[in-house]
Symmetry: C2
Subunit: 343 residues, 2 copies
């Protein structure tokens, strides 16, 4: 791997954002996205099958590199406890992986340099470089989706601590509802998007279209929905206040599926976080700008870095492209990623 790659307009990277349900992939050159798609992860078929899907998706994405271009690197982001330095997925509840050397396997499979990251930290890095955190040296990114986790940027550097930084969704409490992690009363049992839906159904007996459905009912006066939503915001506010007390950051980007709730989430969250802080200044709590694409953008950056490319010029080009998210969000109606036809 060279120290700095001579970027040509025909270099491309392949990026994968591996989730419990879908693997999102894209092919990007130095100015933006050329191709993209999703593959079902098939995690229900077991850990080996899920990893096969990852390899198949890399092959698919490499095959989608336009003939005009040459793949120079691969970036991949995976969920769970991830040790970026060793390139290992230490443990992923969703995928059933344990101590899986993902980076090495992908390197051997593709014969390309591989950049490897944690899904939340990779998405956070994209927000920091391209989205709602640009120009802020000390900040946190909190992802509230199926799971709940955070990523930290301190003094301009991402923090990992062997993969355990930001695992705020589990532990801390001593009683409450049993959690998949083996603990009780974990934040994920109350404040994740999945928990909001589950708790509503448990309390009301009614099925509901996810956290989105609970919010819709809360806004139309459903008392059970209101309480479940309120509990989630309360637990989130305690988590965000803890993050701030420990790290001192004054800028918090909220991402993950739940942020699509917009002000119904952010307004009470801001109020309650402020109520919990006494010596810290009131933080800026802002929604993620890249929506569901943050992980893919971040994985592309990982791929470029692994390839030895000069990241600064790519970040500058991507920052323009990324601010036009490909997913509907409450705050934008802009066009999707710039799509280009091959050759």
């Amino acid at each position: 791997m060279s120290d700095t790659l001579d970027l040509t307009p025909t270099s491309a990277v392949v990026a994968l954002d591996v989730g419990g349900t879908f693997v999102k992939w894209l092919v990007a050159d130095h100015t933006g996205v050329l191709r993209k798609g999703t593959s079902p992860t098939h995690a229900e078929a077991g850990p080996d099958r899920a990893f096969e899907v990852v390899l198949e998706t890399v092959d698919l994405a490499l095959a989608a590199v336009p003939p005009s271009h040459t793949a120079v690197g691969v970036g991949v982001a995976v969920p769970g406890t991830v040790d970026e330095r060793r390139g290992v997925c230490v443990h992923s509840e969703n995928l059933g992986w344990r101590d899986l050397p993902v980076a090495r396997h992908l390197r051997e499979h593709t014969d390309l340099p591989v950049g490897f990251g944690h899904d939340v930290r990779t998405g956070a890095a994209a927000e920091w470089q391209l989205g709602a955190g640009r120009g802020v040296a000390d900040q946190a990114y909190v992802s509230v989706g199926t799971g709940l986790a955070a990523a930290l940027l301190l003094d301009g550097r991402p923090v990992s601590s062997g993969g355990y930084a930001g695992e705020i969704g589990h532990g801390g409490a001593l009683d409450g509802e049993p959690c998949a992690c083996g603990g009780r009363g974990c934040a994920e049992t109350v404040a994740s998007a999945a928990a909001i839906a589950r708790r509503y159904t448990a309390a009301s007996g009614a099925t509901v279209d996810g956290a989105r459905g609970v919010l819709a009912r809360a806004l139309t006066g459903d008392e059970v929905a209101r309480r479940v939503w309120d509990d989630a915001v309360e637990v989130l506010s305690a988590l965000v206040a803890d993050l701030i007390r420990v790290t001192g950051v004054a800028h918090v980007v909220v991402g993950g599926g739940l942020v699509h709730a917009g002000d119904a989430l952010l307004t009470p969250l801001r109020e309650r976080v402020r109520a919990r802080l006494t010596v810290h200044p009131a933080p800026r709590i802002v929604p993620a700008a890249l929506g569901g694409s943050a992980g893919s953008w971040g994985a592309a950056l990982l791929g470029w870095r692994a390839a030895g490319a000069d990241l600064a010029s790519i970040v500058a080009a991507y920052a323009d492209a990324a601010r036009r998210p490909d997913e509907p969000s409450p705050r934008t109606s802009g066009p999707s990623f710039r799509q280009r036809s091959a050759q």
Copy 2:
């Protein structure tokens, strides 16, 4: 200020660890301490008087530099919310300071390069470089004394966030006992050494010789003392678990006055922190090695750095000297700092 000072055996720094009750000072050359002492801070006489004491103590320490030596820098650590980068004490409850440009004033007063730090982060830096944290890249230092605060070393770098990192003693809760910070139920109202004594007196009506006295009573079967001690350990365990969940560190050094309780504090603290963690590995929770001298050693390092000295060689020499603390501790009966007579 030169980039790297040509250290001579006759160079010396003056170091001040400013506390709410005493200013500890020392004069050190590149191998260890030459002179030291303490001055009462007189904080009760107001913020201006407290700062006069700091200036007078610097003069005293400079006058104590042996005629064989030349002072080349000053290091100073102060309590409160401290912005190291700007050299400003943003706010100190104990000293009554607000937005005081301590570094600039000391520079003008002494005409020497001044290194400036937060008392807890400075003591922590000494533990990391010379004491119980040597060789660990990701760790936290928790100081439990009159107040309660933490310092973070992540990826080998201290974290400050404009002075707000590690201010875990205040905020977070929404009810409980009123706190000096304006909040309610802050950890400092239960788990600081001062709170332990105060809560015991409030509950029993009996005056007591500080947290040390409460522990002595708890160990001899005093039920109120046992409960007060237990509450403090419980709150500390929640704080340490929060620290670990947010940052992912697996190494925690406990310092400040309360650590002199030894295993009566550390054994239940370790057990309860572990009970609160589910996805994080059990951390190492170890007592500080430098006792009450950590802040002074750290301030000396700040002084050397400000003077442009090569820190690595000084750290190597100090690490030997510092492991012989000058204060009685449960874990050592070694000699005090090496004292040298001035010719």
